[in-house]
């Protein structure tokens, strides 16, 4: 592999016109998109919250519905960034050749990849905020601290967008993404503390969960939702940031290689 693939990202403000392009596309389909962001997580939260919640006195020191609420914001945020980075990103790179059109202008691949990450994170911000709004309306969280969930949604979005773009860079076709959702996203949803505390898992599985980004996101989200300062907040933030930065770099190297033909 040629050394020029490994150069550090050269970033510029030229990512912004690309972000505006994505925004203009999104505005045309805003209504179904918002519904899509909301329906799935809210139905999960209400269904499990009422159904299981009536059998469980409490979980982690709060009602099961409130426990679920923090996890729901995080996993819906993870999902929207992942879908955007994988399916929509692949469409723009491969199917519609949008990237090719952009790369013929004075915009570089580094700018394009940055704009993909920031756009997918923007989608996370929107879906996280939408779910949060439902939670506030239902009275499941009434602490001002829960406002910190908004920047957290952006951070989670950055991490999962960057990880997802690694898959996009490697994907020969859409089918490839099933591996990622089945082997990475679904296990995270089930192991990282969305539905029950990670401490319920056997020790070995707890170790695995501790390395996964969604665990750190939820460790930040749950105290914030109930109005507390998360313990070891800086560590969790650092882990999420590290996932975002390292994955951005890895995906960029892979895209440079893929598009050098």
């Amino acid at each position: 592999m040629s050394t020029q693939y490994f150069a550090l990202p050269r970033l510029s403000l030229r990512f912004f016109p690309i972000w505006r392009r994505h925004w203009l596309v999104w505005k045309k389909i805003a209504a179904p998109s918002i519904l899509g962001h909301l329906a799935d997580p809210v139905i999960y939260m209400l269904g499990l919250g009422y159904g299981l919640g009536s059998l469980l006195p409490e979980m982690g020191g709060m009602s099961y519905m409130a426990f679920l609420a923090a996890g729901t914001v995080c996993y819906s945020t993870m999902n929207s960034a992942s879908f955007e980075a994988l399916y929509s990103g692949f469409a723009r790179m491969h199917e519609q050749r949008t990237w090719e059109a952009i790369l013929n202008t004075p915009v570089s691949l580094d700018d394009v990849v940055l704009s993909e990450i920031l756009w997918a994170a923007t989608k996370s911000l929107m879906s996280g905020t939408a779910v949060l709004a439902v939670i506030w309306i239902l009275g499941l969280s009434n602490s001002l601290m829960s406002l910190w969930m908004i920047p957290l949604a952006l951070l989670i979005g950055l991490a999962f967008a960057a990880i997802g773009l690694i898959m996009t860079a490697l994907a020969p076709a859409y089918d490839f993404f099933m591996y990622y959702f089945t082997l990475v996203i679904t296990p995270m949803m089930l192991l990282c503390g969305v539905f029950f505390p990670v401490t319920q898992l056997p020790e070995s599985m707890q170790l695995v969960a501790g390395a996964l980004p969604l665990t750190h996101a939820i460790d930040l989200a749950r105290p914030l939702m109930s109005g507390a300062v998360p313990p070891q907040a800086l560590t969790h933030i650092a882990v999420l940031l590290a996932y975002a930065l390292v994955s951005f770099y890895v995906s960029l190297v892979l895209f440079r290689r893929r598009l050098s033909r």
């Binding site: 016109p17 505006r20 392009r21 050749r97 059109a101 013929n104 202008t105 915009v107 033909r261």
Partner: protein
């Protein structure tokens, strides 16, 4: 004359396969230069290197006096590209495609909006301003792609097979527009498979094969330098037998392709007189053209 595009010893390999092999090229300001070659000859790879999208393994490329890929970003501010495959934004209208694309060049919205009416007029798309891209015909899409390549008022325009897949009406309109651009003093570099397109549009041509530029010059020079001036095509079931027995007597050079025999001659009169007496054969006598040159230089066998 100053060269707007200059390549020296350009080389690129993919997986041990040398796609571009020591290419030297110099294109002057205001010139329309056509790159001809069979599929896989290295035309698109050459364009991508000249645009600074990929780095050559060896050699140098200059675009508008800037070295590429090192200064590709600065150079591309003054370059427009019409790609081989359609890559318009399907979610947008015609005008939105132009607006969004202009922003990539760092242009202000007001600046782009001011250019859109004249771009639409140039592309004969004024009435389609608010139409969505999927509703456009193939010819309209191509014209919009051309208009999009002009949004930044470029000095140089790269066109990769600009009329492939279009019907004759649509091709003629594109040709007319490309001639207008050269009249405005813009430099055009285009690739094509169509010899009539190359002959009509291009001041100079280069024929590429196996990554090398094997011949270049004006269309007339290419014909004069490479091939006999007259061609007689002989058809019929017995043409193969006729070729074995008689062709060499009349033609300096002939080629058999299926049931056709192509005879390349300095003077066609003796051959034509002979053929008039052959009832079972039909023939066509015509001046040599670029396609004859192309087939002579790159061979008749299929490439893919």
């Amino acid at each position: 004359m100053s060269a707007v595009i200059r390549a020296t010893g350009l080389q690129k390999s993919y997986g041990g396969n040398r796609v571009v092999d020591g290419l030297d090229l110099s294109i002057h300001r205001g010139e329309c230069f056509g790159l001809l070659g069979p599929n896989g000859a290295g035309k698109t790879t050459t364009l991508r290197m000249l645009l600074g999208l990929i780095a050559p393994d060896a050699g140098t490329a200059m675009l508008l006096d800037l070295p590429v890929p090192q200064a590709a970003r600065e150079a591309r501010i003054r370059v427009g590209v019409v790609p081989q495959m359609d890559n318009l934004d399907p979610d947008f209208t015609v005008a939105e495609n132009l607006l969004v694309y202009g922003r990539y060049f760092g242009m202000q919205d007001s600046e782009i909006e001011a250019r859109i009416p004249s771009l639409l007029e140039f592309a004969s798309l004024t009435s389609k301003r608010d139409a969505k891209v999927p509703t456009l015909s193939g010819g309209m899409k191509r014209r919009l792609t051309l208009a999009r390549a002009l949004v930044n008022d470029p000095d140089v325009i790269f066109l990769d097979e600009p009329t492939t897949g279009l019907d004759p009406q649509a091709r003629h309109l594109i040709w007319q527009r490309l001639r207008e651009l050269t009249q405005q003093g813009k430099t055009l570099l285009l690739t094509t498979h169509f010899m009539d397109e190359a002959e009509r549009l291009c001041h100079r041509l280069g024929v590429m094969d196996n990554g090398k530029l094997i011949s270049q010059g004006t269309p007339r020079e290419l014909i004069e330098q490479n091939i006999e001036p007259q061609v007689v095509e002989v058809f019929g079931e017995t043409s193969g037998q006729w070729a074995n027995e008689h062709a060499a007597k009349f033609a300096q050079r002939f080629e058999v392709s299926g049931e056709s025999v192509f005879c390349y001659v300095q003077n066609a009169q003796p051959l034509v007189a002979h053929l008039q007496a052959q009832n079972e054969l039909r023939y066509l006598h015509r001046p040599a053209n670029l396609e004859d040159v192309f087939l002579k230089l790159t061979g008749r066998e299929m490439r893919d």
